[in-house]
Amino acid sequence: MITFLLRRTGLAVVILVIVAILLFLMMHMIPGDPTVVALGPRSTPEMREAFRQMMGLDRPFIEQLGLFLARLAHGDLGQDVWSRRPVLTMILEVLPYTATLALASFLWAVTLGVLLGCIAVVHHGKWGDWLIGLVSIAFVAVPSFVVALYSLLVFAVWLNWLPAIGAGEPGDLAAQLRSLILPSFAVGLGWVGYVSRLIRAAMIEAMGEDYVRTLRAYGVAERRITYRYALKQALLAVLPVIAIGFGGLLTGSVFAEIVFTRPGLGKMTYDAVMSRNFPVVMGTVLVTSGLYVACMIIADAVTALLDPRVRSTL
């Protein structure tokens, strides 16, 4: 098991290095003075000089790359061009907000998704299955930021039940929770549909297996077959896909953070781009990719631990 995790982490590090190089290359591919490109026309000469110095742009390309990667290894993602604060600390400040939002949306969406999936299977072929199918597909189709906008419009602007802005004061748990409801609804809705479709398909496939016929041949109750056998096989097939998807949630949270003006990794990147704060953009992209790759490892670990067929080969 350990060797398996080591291999996967090694692979993850390689991916992160590639991502870093890709971003670094992008910056150098553009004609013209990289500092102007990175910091934008409005940047002052001192800032450009500081950026040039920081990235060591006068040195040969390979040396710059080496310097960049070395600094990365020490967790130094460079400094915010405007506030001079280290990018890493800035990221760590906002990360908890994104994490809570992602976790909240993920939990409610996956639970409801699995529930809907099971109900659809139990009513297979009847109107319940069709209706849940229709609703699930619609949830997946509708873009999350449109859901964010309209929930903001209805619940915050018109009905004013829930706060439209911010993530609540740090101390005040109740306010934080209330401000979490709408964004996690917007981010999670797509997942409800996606998970319910996945679970339904996986369970229908499981119900068609030979061993279900064996269980029925011994009079085992249909409910036990569905929930103890088919559901376990379905979850084993679906969990890794969901685990990888969790990494992708960070994309969804960008919109929610912007629409509900919540602090977060997405908002920070967006602001960095608008203000041409290139080091921060590089930092946030690397951290997000890091989280995504971490989810990939967790997905594999989940499969390896739960699925006896995979566990036996480790």
Partner: protein, 335 residues
């Protein structure tokens, strides 16, 4: 004696031990040094239980599975190495019939085009319709199937289409993997009748891989028995069938139930299961299941005694000649 059409010498095929096994974990041998020579026009049957490596041997001959050791000779000259390039010569003169014919057809290619495929690959000119129909007819497949897609064929028809494809480059060797698997009794004969006919007409050699005793009885000239990737016995069909020397061969031949209620067996000829190649028994690897096991069998692996002409057996205590067995009360076939 002209050199064999194709000969394997101590052919060895290894498989990594586990999905995440590192180099140092000892690889497992599916084929552990099998030697076999096939002469033109000869039908050789390779028999063994699942896991004996018989299918792997058939594929290793054509390089579909990369051998890890030993040598393969074509018309007496050994292949320089086991790269895909060196197998090209063998493949241009060989055809392979798969155990599940339907899975060996491209689902989106019509049967006619599929039969002509080897000709087109070998660049033998455009495949005219009459040629294809001729091939199909030779394999007993009516030409109304030529425009169909594979999923419209039954098991028997698919097998005949596979044979037609195999014949389209007039191969010198056909490797047939379980040619009668999944076929009903009524059309098993239809497929089996094709092989001797083809063998005589084109002097084609056959390597038939099967565990079906009746296939062996009717078409085999020569029989080879494998156990855990090693040859335990080989020789002319008539001798092996009437006087098997290796206990495993005897057990295999007797295991098949005879469709005659008066000739039932009292106890299963061999007990236990095929051991896993990850835990090979010591000495003679069959000793864990052999009814005639002696202490020597447990400690010492038997060598391959090939004193008698063309007859080889790997057993410390080969079975004696059986007294003339009671005539197998067979009904003569009135047709």
């Amino acid at each position: 004696m002209s050199p064999a059409l194709i000969e394997a010498r101590a052919l060895w095929v290894d498989v990594p031990a586990g999905r995440f096994a590192f180099a140092r974990a000892r690889p497992l041998a599916i084929l552990a040094g099998v030697s076999l020579a096939i002469r033109p026009g000869e039908i050789v049957c390779m028999v063994g239980e699942s896991g004996s490596g018989k299918t792997t041997f058939g594929r290793a001959l054509l390089g579909l599975v990369k051998p890890s050791g030993g040598e393969i000779l074509l018309d007496g000259t050994p292949l320089p190495d086991f790269s895909q390039r060196s197998f090209r010569a063998i493949r241009s003169q060989t055809s392979l019939l798969f155990q599940d014919p339907l899975s060996s057809f491209n689902p989106r290619q019509r049967i006619g085009a599929m039969i002509a495929e080897p000709r087109r690959i070998a660049g033998m000119g455009s495949a005219r319709l009459e040629d294809i129909a001729g091939l199909a007819q030779q394999a007993g497949l009516s030409d109304r199937f030529l425009s169909r897609f594979p999923h419209a064929l039954s098991g028997g028809q698919a097998r005949r289409a596979a044979v037609a494809r195999a014949l389209s480059v007039v191969p010198r060797l056909i490797v047939a993997d379980e040619p009668t698997a999944g076929l009903d009794v009524s059309n098993q004969g239809g497929v089996l009748n094709l092989f001797p006919g083809i063998s005589k007409r084109h002097d084609t050699a056959f390597l038939v891989i099967t565990h079906n005793r009746s296939v062996v009885r009717h078409i085999a000239d020569h029989i080879v028995i494998l156990y855990l990737g090693r040859m335990v016995e080989s020789g002319p069909a008539a001798e092996i069938l009437s006087a098997p020397k290796h206990p495993y061969t005897k057990a295999l031949l007797e295991a098949e139930p005879i469709p005659d209620p008066t000739r039932r067996r009292t106890a299963p000829p061999v007990l236990g299961e095929v051991p896993s190649i990850a835990a090979r028994p010591s000495g003679c690897e069959f000793h864990t299941r052999c009814p005639f096991v002696q202490p020597r069998c447990r400690s010492e692996a038997p060598g391959l005694d090939d004193s008698a002409e063309g007859r080889r057996v790997a057993c410390h205590f080969p079975l004696p000649e059986p007294r003339p067995a009671a005539a197998h009360s067979l009904r003569t076939v009135s047709n």
